[in-house]
Symmetry: C3
Subunit: 148 residues, 3 copies
């Protein structure tokens, strides 16, 4: 992996659970890129897990999210895919495979109530999360590219 | 906030509504970064509102989106969270907390019918939107990093 | 379009289908930006199609995704929008209009089972996909900006 990209590993404890990874993401960025300001792309390289940002203060919120997604996409819905985890694939696409997180001076700049969650839908498993830092900038790409 | 990051404020008029913020986002970028070419990360620092891109021409489209999300995630569904707004948290994660918008020369480069919407699910409220500009570029990060 | 942004065209063969565009995206990046390392923003400039990352090995997975989205958002649900494709607009927002894909040395860095899908919900149509490369970097934007 390129020197700037970071990886963290998470053991998810249940089949369906949102695991708060905010402090893990912040620690990884703070250690490797303490002065970085821009956007961190937090990317999940799996197809039965996703990533989302939601409330971190009251743990019942993410349990409500998991429960309601289970109602919207029940495990047994006459799916074609033989592995019995099509529901997990569908929920992963509903949540998405990445979030963009503003960073300032090596610290996450989230809203007051926001946390970053690995959204596990087919655990328990060992999951990885990649973090790619992208420096903020508003350069005129065309102008600078045109200079000799 | 870092000098490159912009913030706009929006007062949402209803509990559930998609508010078109395209011109606000474009004006903020055009004023601060008139020659910027790249991607704007449009980020919502809230947990009961999200952001999405959809049709801007016919206003019935976004009303259909709001109505159908209400059917998929009714406000009363036996949720655990005591504040009575778990539906809003779930819809926020379904829409997502950020969108990436191509920008060229300080102007948004959206598809013909696309607009950017703040997706309010627990208003009316005062909401903020952060815009982080990221310059386009295809530099070989490893090569440049490897030079002394 | 700026020199760094790429465009690919896709003819979708059905009303609702997930079309694997991974090799098209990789070929476009590899040809134009063979040494690029960072994140590719893959953006769909349409409002009745989106883009998502999911399993590429077993084609039944994406058929299950399409089928289940049709159950969640049936075409006839008493919508206001007169064109009869509100379901497609809603599904597009559920999937999202862009994905962020890590790239290293001009090659996509996806998880083992991940593919990128154009999510068509109102085809068959000619669709475009824009790819904006963003170089990875963890520079201190504020420090560099502060230097004369």
């Amino acid at each position: 992996m390129a020197g700037t990209t970071l990886e963290i590993s998470i053991r998810t404890p249940e089949r369906e659970i949102l695991v708060d990874i905010t402090s893990r993401v912040e620690a990884a960025i703070g250690q490797a890129h303490a002065t970085f300001t821009g956007v961190a792309t937090v990317f999940v390289p799996h197809t039965t897990a996703g990533v989302t940002i939601n409330e971190g203060a009251d743990p019942t919120v993410v349990r409500d999210i998991v429960d309601h997604l289970r109602r919207l996409v029940p495990r047994e819905s006459g799916f074609r895919h033989g592995e019995g985890n099509s529901d997990a694939h569908i929920k992963a696409s509903l949540m998405g495979s990445s979030v963009a997180v503003p960073v300032e001076g090596g610290r996450l700049r989230l809203g007051t109530w926001q946390s970053i969650y690995l959204a596990e839908f087919d655990g328990p498993r060992d999951r990885r999360v990649w973090i790619v830092p992208i420096t903020a900038g508003s350069e005129d790409q065309r102008a600078s590219g045109g200079r000799p």
